[in-house]
Symmetry: C2
Subunit: 375 residues, 2 copies
């Protein structure tokens, strides 16, 4: 299992690569559809495969609460439980504990919190989070980290960053022991770089995390409410510090335009709920921008969501039909627009994969955004 850098764009930091995991190979830059609770909302695994998903993201925090790690372990792991044969990355739950959970108390040992579902009290340590993800059997796992929101005072950001570093050390050790104990478990462990919007904190964190030696590096604490230019600056700053030979993951990002910006800065991996969340709200991503299917102009529009799209939705259904489904609150509507959106994001990545080896990422990005942003 390893990462291979196949091509570096001549004019930008955009990289084409391959990441080999226990359940298959992923072409990078990649987009991971989000299956928070062990299902990418409204879609079947078969549809995800047909849309070309090579890896999905799921969430240790949510699965720990429901159905519980024990159930998934007994099922033979998350792949088998949800019937998804390809790679899975699981998020550690750090972000969820700091955004969803109630009454959390962090100390150096770990974090105590109440479930956002039933208020039940839990205590998680970095070691426990590694064990949970070992039970889930995901291909790429993330260490517990402390994620702060924007804006965050520097002293708070520093405390969270140092705790993230400490927990990373403990996670690495727990993971090594786990690997020794069970040679079949071939899970990649990524390191997460925190430090909010402070360059010196980010730099220190990156230096330490890189020194520990992880299988890949994630930029955490982005997409937490900061302005886009700040996110761009931090991503740029951190990406420059990262080694060339490991995959780089920008957590929770983003919209098509955000992905294109970050690919340009040398990011390899993305995850975001927008394709399915927007899909359930009836907003479709198309090569000519976003489209709100409930709107009146689509009542008698018998063209597909996107003429250039080859997904099941676009090959079979019109905007008029999709509008009817949303108008009558039919679940098939949520499904079909979610499916199209996931396909659209994965197609964006496929187009990026074609542009980079031809050293024309910048042209592609410009062409894409020109059409996408056309009023």
């Amino acid at each position: 299992m390893s990462f291979t850098l196949l091509h570096q764009d001549e004019n930008t930091n955009a990289r084409l690569g391959k990441l080999i995991t226990a359940h298959g190979t992923i072409d990078t830059p990649c987009f991971m559809p989000v299956g928070t609770q062990g299902t990418v909302k409204t879609l079947s695994p078969q549809e995800l495969e047909e849309a070309g998903a090579e890896i999905i993201l799921s969430n240790a925090y949510h699965l720990f609460l429901r159905p519980g790690t024990e159930v998934i372990k007994k099922a033979g792991g998350l792949h088998k439980f949800m019937s998804w044969p390809k790679p899975i990355l699981t998020d550690s739950g750090g972000y969820q504990i700091f955004s969803l959970a109630l009454l959390r108390k962090v100390n150096d040992q770990g974090v105590e919190f109440q479930s956002h579902i039933d208020g039940q009290k839990h205590f998680l340590t970095p070691e426990e989070v590694i064990r949970i993800q070992a039970d889930l059997g995901s291909d790429i796992i993330m260490p517990l980290d402390e994620c702060v929101h924007y804006p965050c005072a520097k002293d708070q950001a520093e405390i969270a960053m140092r705790r993230t570093l400490d927990w990373a050390t403990r996670s690495k050790l727990a993971h090594s022991l786990k690997l020794e104990a069970d040679s079949k478990k071939q899970q990649l462990l990524f390191g997460i770089i925190q430090g909010a919007t402070y360059e010196d904190l980010r730099k220190e964190c990156a230096k330490e995390i890189i020194a520990m030696g992880f299988d890949g590096f994630a930029i955490g604490g982005v997409s937490v409410g900061e302005p886009k230019n700040l996110r761009y600056n931090i991503t740029h700053f951190v990406a420059e510090l990262l080694p060339q030979d490991k995959p780089r993951y920008l957590m929770g990002v983003g919209l098509p335009e955000d992905i294109l910006e970050a690919v340009e800065l040398g990011i390899d991996m993305f995850d975001c709920v927008v394709p399915t969340r927007y899909g359930r709200n009836g907003t479709a991503f198309t090569s000519e921008g976003k489209l709100t299917i409930r709107n009146a102009p689509y009542v008698e529009d018998f063209s597909p969501l996107d003429k250039e799209c080859s997904c099941y939705t676009c090959k079979n259904f019109s905007r008029a039909y999709l509008r009817h489904l949303f108008n009558t609150e039919e679940i098939l509507g949520l499904r079909l627009v979610s499916l199209h959106n996931v396909h659209f994001f994965l197609d964006l990545m496929r187009q990026i994969h074609q542009a980079i080896p031809q050293d024309r990422f910048l042209e592609f990005k410009r062409e894409f955004l020109d059409r996408y942003n056309k009023p």
Copy 2:
């Protein structure tokens, strides 16, 4: 387009047949999944085809209100609008007007009602209902009828029956004129027999409807709250009166046990919302009876819903996973159980198709119900 009786069971009135329509051939006895608003709830047309659906039912009343007949006509008809290439039967809306609509006023000319959605006033005549279904382009269409609920006083039932007869005459004429005007429109028109639970009314209605000469005959006004034995008696009574060479449709029926009873009495066609309605509530039909997936015993049950089922759900997902999906309110759960249920009903019909030509319908029915009803 015609109906062919292929085999008559030696020991019962169960019949094996073939019904040829403009969009394909249907093996009878058949079950029609219900796509009220132009979509079989939660399922895609591709899934319906894979489950083996040969015909679906949709509803003129609902489509007339939303998106409106004009939109579907402009789309090129309902098949194209919803991307379903196989036969469609549309219900006239009689039942819906008498159960869903508000403030209805019936007179001999037609029926005035207010939409159950926005209260808008509409007036529909039998001729208009034929025109609507011509615009929808469905393969089998139903005339506007007056449907009464159970219990219904005899004088009321008689008024409704006579009006149904009058409207049938007018529908037949409108349909003939339509056929002459457009030779491409090859829609089969069925006659509906009303008369509530009164044998003399049913008999008179059947006699008149048969004399008018329709492409098939439907028993209406069942599944409207009457006890099962009464429904059984009426079905038996009316089926005996019907000609052998035309298909017989028992409207809105039913559960697996109801379908088996009615097939035994010589019924050829069924429709019912239960596979998808129960599916969305997390109740699965299995060869060993119904199963409520939310229940605690399934938390760690890694077997499929039904070991003998070959549907996508049963081939890929466990009860434990499905329970998790319902427990976390994930749409995939509604989809997967609905898909299984539709497959189960269609599979029941396929088993009936095998039993009849071997003259073993009664044994099959007994075997099926023995397992299905086992406590």
